[in-house]
Amino acid sequence: MLQQNSSPGVQLTFSSLADEKIKELQAIIDGITEPLILIDQNFDIKRVNQATLNFTGETAYKDLTKQKCYTKLYGRENICPYCPFLNYKVEQSDYSDFFDLNSFPVPELKREVLFKFDGKNQNLNLSFFPLISKDGKIYSFVEKVSNITKIKEKEEENLRMRNLASLGIMISGVAHELNNPLTGISLTVQNLVNNLSHFAPELILNRLDLIQKDLARAALIVSDIISFAKPERSKYTLADLVEVIYKAKETVQRLYPDLSKNVTWDINADDEFIFYFNPFKIERLFLNLFRNSLQAFDYAKGYIRVDVKKKKNSTVVTIEDNAGGIPDVVLDKIFDPFFSNRKEGTGTGLGLSICHSIVKDHNGKINVKSTDDRTKFSISIPTIKSQTRK
């Protein structure tokens, strides 16, 4: 005898004991505050909970059962394009595309979708749990709909806050870094004004040269920020990589004469390295790496060794120093923008991040190894012999 069950939208022909169990089960799933839908292999809704009624705006269970899930839940005429069972065929017996049925519990399938309701786009996280028959076939599945809009908003908010905090750290670093050369220039100008009448011309020239150096430092900081904020595509020209490395070395020696005093340099190239790359950016790359090394030495004695080697289609440059190494805990963070392991307020924290983006821009790779007191950066960039890139 066919019997209409009082609350759930499923028709049953069981005994009153089974009926009792069904009621219990319905009470349990109604207690779950997120929509829970049992769907069969034809995408027909078999059973839902109270939260599903609220989600769809229907008032009675029977308005949902035996209806297509995509129509009732999401107002679609066809199967949702993101549905994990989109290509499901009733006669199918291999479900390995969907689930690893051998593992237990069967891992849930998840989809994160945007869905408009209550007048705004909401982030829904859909989870699918398969029901498997004795012969190993999926005969229906349970879909759980979680509204994660609030969590998403919170996450985004957190991310924004983190970015703001990083920005704050960067700005205070930049402010401090700029303060030094600016103070130098300001005091030197005051000094020149005071002593203009009795300083010998060469003394004045020397003081002006100090201003020039401070300006170069300030300009370097500014260009760091600009190249970070507005990375541009490289213009490749035919250039000599070894020459560029020497140029970068001379620049850091000029900018940091004291820091580089106790450091011995050893630059080795086993061949000529003339190919297409952006010499300005690559010089910048080495400049930043050399500067980091020198600052790590902090006046101590040591060496910076650069090896340039030919590989099949690429050129590999390794830069090794014995300035103390990088602790494991920070090693994976050093290419992150704003990360700086130096004392608070020094450095912009952009140096290595810029290195990373320069190498990436050249379709190359940069990695770092650190053991004991040694740090070794390896950079590999493709050796482009003809200008094909626009």
Binding site: N180, G184, I185, L210, D214, D258
Partner: protein
């Protein structure tokens, strides 16, 4: 000729300071700790001026070294960092002068500091200005007087009533001329210090306030009439864009350790409560606020004889770079 050693890692800053000081002194320079230590070995240095953060050992290390090995050498600090972070060190190591390195720093501030430290001639606001600063010291009566342009006028204050009247008028005048409103607070703090806290009897007891040391309380008398020997002076004026307030009392009872103590209680945060120890009472808060809102506050003290407190307020918003300037003779 007095010998000065400047230790600073930035070439241009080091050279500029050295050039200015070399006019009147024998000036040496070093770019780091180890170079400085070498110079100290061969030259008898009278005054050391060192940067705090340098590659290698810091300026604080250098001060420890000097204190231990050259007890006659005076020392001061310069830094591009927040000086408040070093108040604790200053307290522990008896550093009374720290100069902030920033782009609006006037080189004169350094040469005045050096002169004051080496000569002991510490009083007088005129040291900080060109010769065209006019000081009207005639002190006619308790009436308000407009200071000369590029000048300061001094007034004697004899009672609470006069203090209130003059403070109001001076504040109003300076604010009209563009001073920040907070200058009222500076005037209030400096005058109450000079009138209520400075006067002490021979035993060092406050004359115009009740001290309750057991309860850590100070209660000032009401409607104070100062006796003639306790009169103090307030000077006020404007030089270019700098607003100037000076108080002078005849006691010299402010102690330099006390100043650092008071500042320290408000700057340093108790790690367990997250609050400064000074927040629960009022000791030193006025002084702390004065320092925070002014561009420079300079204390000149001759023990038991006189105290001069000079404050400069510029409108240039460089509030984050503050010197520590305490001179005692």
């Amino acid at each position: 000729m007095k010998k000065i050693l400047i230790v600073e890692d930035i070439h241009s800053i080091r050279t500029a300071i050295k050039d200015v000081l070399a006019i009147e002194y024998s000036a040496f320079d070093a770019k780091n700790y180890s170079e400085a230590v070498e110079i100290l070995k061969s030259e008898k240095i009278d005054l050391l001026i060192t940067d705090i953060k340098m590659p290698g050992k810091s300026g604080l290390d250098l001060i420890r070294h000097v204190r231990e090995n050259y007890p006659d050498t005076l020392y001061t600090l310069i830094t591009a960092y927040n000086i408040n972070d070093y108040i604790k060190f200053a307290k522990d190591y008896g550093v009374w002068n720290i100069i902030p390195k920033y782009s609006f720093l006037d080189l004169r501030f350094i040469s005045v500091m050096v002169y004051k430290l080496l000569t002991g001639d510490i009083f007088g606001v005129e040291k900080y200005f060109d010769k065209d600063l006019i000081i009207n010291d005639k002190n006619s009566g308790g009436k308000f007087e407009t200071p000369p342009p590029k000048g300061i006028v001094f007034k004697t204050i004899k009672s609470d009533k006069e203090r209130e009247f003059l403070s109001n008028r001076i504040g109003k005048f300076l604010i009209e001329k563009g001073a920040p409103k907070i200058i009222n607070q500076v005037i209030e703090e400096l005058t109450s210090n000079a009138m209520i806290r400075a006067p002490r009897d021979e035993k060092g007891k406050s004359k115009y306030q009740l001290e309750l040391p057991a309860r850590d309380l100070l209660i000032s008398d009401e409607k104070i009439e100062l006796s003639e020997s306790d009169y103090f002076e307030i000077g006020y004026g404007i030089y270019n864009k700098t607003f100037i307030i000076v108080t002078r009392d005849k006691f010299g009872s402010l102690k330099k350790e006390e100043i650092l103590n008071r500042l320290d209680r408000h700057i340093n945060i108790d790690e367990t409560t997250g609050l400064s120890p000074g927040i629960t009472d009022s000791h030193g808060r006025g002084l702390y606020i004065c320092r925070e809102v002014s561009d420079s506050i300079i204390f000149n003290i001759e023990k038991g004889v006189r105290t001069e407190v000079i404050t400069f307020l510029d409108n240039n918003d460089n509030k984050s770079y503050k010197s520590l300037s305490i001179y005692e003779r």
